[in-house]
Amino acid sequence: MATSDMIVVFPANPTPDLVRTLDLGGYRWKAVSGADEAGKCEPQAGWMGAIITCDEDPENAWAFARALRKRDNAVDSVIVLVSGTQLGDLELRDDLFDDFCLTPFHPRELEARLRHLFSSTESGLRPELVEHSGLILNLETYQATFNGHALDLTFMEYELLKFLAQNPGKVFTREMLLSRVWGYEYYGGARTVDVHVRRLRAKLGEEHANLIQTVRSVGYRFGQSRWGS
C-alpha cells in the first residue's frame, strides 16, 4: 500500500529536541492534538507513520495510538516515546506500536530508529514497482514480469529496461542511455546500447518488440506500443 511521506506527531506541542531530530532527518511532519485533527489533515495517500510522545499525557496518547490503529486506513509505522517509569505501560499494548524510545531520548538513537522503521516500511510493505503495458519491474527484488510471466534478464538488460520504463514516451539518444545506464567506465560505444535493445526485444518476444521503439537517427523510446495494453 502506497502512502505519503508525511508523519503525524502527537501531541500538538512537540519538544524542541523532537522537532530538531525530525527536521535534521529531512522528515515531513505535522503535529496534531488528537485523532479528529489527524483525520482532518491526513494527506490523500495516508500517513507514512506516527510519533507519539506518551510522557506528558499518557492517557490521551494511548487513546490516540489506538485510534490510529482502529481506522480503516490504519497507520502502519508507529513509534512511541515513553519515560523510564512508563515502561510497564507497554505491556499488553504491543499491538499499538512498532517501536519505542525512552525519553529523554538521544537524538542519534531516535534518528536511527526512525530510519529503520521507515526504511522497512518502504522496502517490506510496499515494494517499488514500475508498471507499463503489462511489464512490471520490482525495484526491490530486481525481478521483472511481462504479462504475468517471469522475464529473465541480465543485470545490464534489467538496468536499461528499468531506465526506459521509468521514462516512458521520452526519446533518448544512445549516448544518453550509455552514460545514464552504463556509466563512464564502459568503452563498448553506443552500439552496446543497440545490442542490449535487441536482446531485450528478443526476450520480450516478437509481438512486443515494439515496446522499445527505434526513433530513426535519434535513439530509442519506451512505450506507445501498438500492441501494448
Binding site: 525481478q143 517471469a150 528478443a202 526476450k203
Partner: protein
C-alpha cells in the same frame, strides 16, 4: 558495477527459486563443459571462483598442477528456459584461472579476451554475426548413414513440420536467452537448417555460439531428434558451414566503411582482408578442425576452395556482401570457410589476429577474383598464382605448425596441445580402411 552485478545475480537466484547453477566453460576442442553448484555456493563462487580438477578436461592438462578455478562472469548469468519453472536452473559462463588468480593459458575464453584486448589497444572493437548451419536426423545408429527427417518416409507428410517446429522452438529459446536471431530457413540439403544470429561483440558471440549449439541439440533431443554440427554428414549434398560476417568498429564508426571506395571498403577493411587471405591457410586447422571438415571444402557445394575474394560469388573465401543502401554500419566482410564444429573462441582469435596483422603491416589487397576462377582446374590456378585452402586436416596442420601468427594468437600451451591432439586424430584416420576403398578396389585388384 561488479558488486551490483553480483548482487543482481544472487538476488535473482533467490527470487526465481533457482535450485542449481551450472558453471559453463569450454575445453580446447570447443566442447561445452559444465558442473553444477548449489545456490548457497554461488556467492563464494562469484567472489573467489570454484576449484575443479582440470586434468580431465581436453587441453587443460598440465604437468605440475591439475587444479584450476572457474570464475563466473556475472554478465552471462541466465535462467535456463527449458527447465521446469518449479526447480529452475541457471547457467553462468566462467573464465578459468590458476589457483593464484592468474590467467590460465589453457582456457580458450582467455585466449579470445587477450586477442580482443590487443585489437582494442589499437582502437578497434571486433563484431561478428555467424550463419549457423546444421542438420536434423533421426536418432543415429552406429555405422549407419544418417537419416534426414525430411526423407524419413515413415512420417513423410509431417516431418517437414517437425523440423520447422523444432526450429521455431529453438529460436524462441535462443531469444529468451538473449541471443537475437536475424533470419532462419531450411537450407538446400535435406533436413539442413540455417539460423543467422545478429551481430555482437566477439566475446559475447563466442559465448552465444556455445549456447546455440547446446540449445539446438537440447531442443532436438527433447523431441527425440538428433541435431548435428558435423561439417559434412551426408555425401553428395552441401555441408554445414559457419560463415562469419565480420567488421571492426572504432568507437561508433564502422572502420570497414569508406564513402570513397566503389565497394565502400575502407583501407582498413582491405588490409584486414589481405591479412586474412595471406594467413588463411595457417588458421584453417583452427577454423576447420576435424578430418570431416575438409570433405566440406570441395568444389561444387558453395564452400570455398580457393584463397580469393569476390563481391558476390559464394565460392570465394571472402565475400563482400552489398549492404542495403545507405547502411554504413552494415558494411562487412563474410569469411566463409569456418564450420560450426570449431571452437568459436579460438577461431575468432586466429581470424582477428590474421586481419589485424594485415592492418598493422599495411598489406595490399589483391584484385577481386574473376568469376571464371571457380571453373578452372588446379594447373591453370597455379599459373595465376592462386592458392587453395589446405585439402586435409594433415595439410592444415603442416601449415599451422610453421605459423608464428597462430602460435602467438593461441599462446604456446594451446598451440602445442592442439597440434598434438590433431596429429593424433589424423593418424587414427589414416589407418582406417574406408567403404570407398573396399568398393573400388576389393573386386578389381
Amino acid at each position: 558495477m561488479m558488486d551490483q552485478h553480483r548482487d543482481y545475480v544472487l538476488r535473482t537466484v533467490e527470487e526465481r527459486g533457482v535450485r542449481l547453477v551450472r558453471l559453463w566453460f569450454t575445453d580446447v576442442l570447443g566442447t561445452l563443459k559444465s558442473f553444477a553448484i548449489s545456490p548457497a555456493e554461488l556467492e563464494n563462487a562469484l567472489e573467489d571462483g570454484m576449484t575443479f580438477d582440470g586434468s580431465s578436461i581436453d587441453g587443460y592438462s598440465r604437468v605440475q598442477e591439475a587444479d584450476v578455478l572457474a570464475v563466473p562472469d556475472p554478465n552471462t548469468f541466465e535462467v535456463l528456459p527449458w527447465v521446469d519453472n518449479k526447480a529452475a536452473e541457471a547457467r553462468v559462463i566462467c573464465d578459468v584461472r590458476n589457483l593464484d588468480g592468474s590467467i590460465f593459458e589453457g582456457d580458450p575464453r582467455q585466449v579470445l579476451r587477450r586477442n580482443l584486448d590487443a585489437a582494442r589497444a589499437m582502437g578497434y572493437e571486433f563484431l561478428i554475426a555467424p550463419d549457423m548451419e546444421y542438420f536434423y536426423f533421426e536418432p543415429p545408429v552406429r555405422g549407419q548413414i544418417p537419416v534426414p527427417l525430411d526423407e524419413g518416409g515413415f512420417f513423410d507428410l509431417t516431418t517437414t513440420d517437425v523440423a520447422s517446429s523444432l526450429r521455431k522452438q529453438t529460436i524462441r529459446t535462443l531469444e529468451t536467452m538473449g541471443i537475437p536471431v536475424e533470419y532462419s530457413f531450411h537450407e538446400d540439403a535435406p533436413s539442413q537448417q540455417e539460423i543467422d544470429l545478429r551481430h555482437t561483440d566477439a566475446l559475447s558471440m563466442a559465448d552465444s555460439v556455445m549456447t546455440f549449439r547446446m540449445i539446438v541439440k537440447e531442443i532436438a533431443a527433447m523431441n527425440n531428434v538428433h541435431a548435428t554440427f558435423m561439417p559434412k554428414p551426408l555425401e553428395g549434398v552441401q555441408g554445414s558451414g559457419m560463415h562469419l560476417h565480420l567488421s571492426l568498429f572504432s568507437g561508433d564508426t564502422n572502420a570497414f566503411y569508406s564513402a570513397d571506395d566503389p565497394n565502400n571498403l575502407s583501407p582498413i577493411a582491405k588490409s584486414f582482408m589481405a591479412g586474412l587471405l595471406r594467413h588463411a591457410a595457417e588458421i584453417t586447422a583452427v577454423t576447420n578442425q576435424t578430418v570431416n571438415s575438409y570433405k566440406r571444402l570441395v568444389p561444387g557445394f558453395e564452400a570455398p576452395v580457393h584463397i580469393s575474394w569476390a563481391r558476390n560469388n559464394r565460392s570465394g573465401l571472402i565475400r563482400v556482401p552489398i549492404p542495403k543502401r545507405g547502411s554504413i554500419s552494415a558494411t562487412r566482410i563474410e569469411y566463409r570457410s569456418p564450420d560450426p564444429a570449431c571452437n568459436p573462441y579460438l577461431a575468432f582469435s586466429v581470424i582477428l589476429a590474421a586481419g589485424m596483422k594485415g592492418i598493422r603491416e599495411g598489406y595490399e589487397l589483391e584484385p577481386e577474383a574473376d568469376a571464371n576462377l571457380f571453373e578452372m582446374d588446379d594447373a591453370a590456378l597455379d599459373k595465376l598464382g592462386i592458392r587453395q585452402l589446405p585439402q586435409s586436416l594433415n595439410d592444415a596442420l603442416k601449415v599451422m605448425e610453421t605459423s608464428e601468427l597462430v602460435q602467438e594468437a593461441l599462446g604456446e600451451h594451446i598451440f602445442e596441445w592442439f597440434l598434438r591432439n590433431k596429429r593424433h586424430e589424423w593418424r587414427e584416420y589414416k589407418t582406417q580402411v574406408t567403404p570407398f576403398e573396399l568398393n573400388r578396389y576389393l573386386k578389381s585388384l
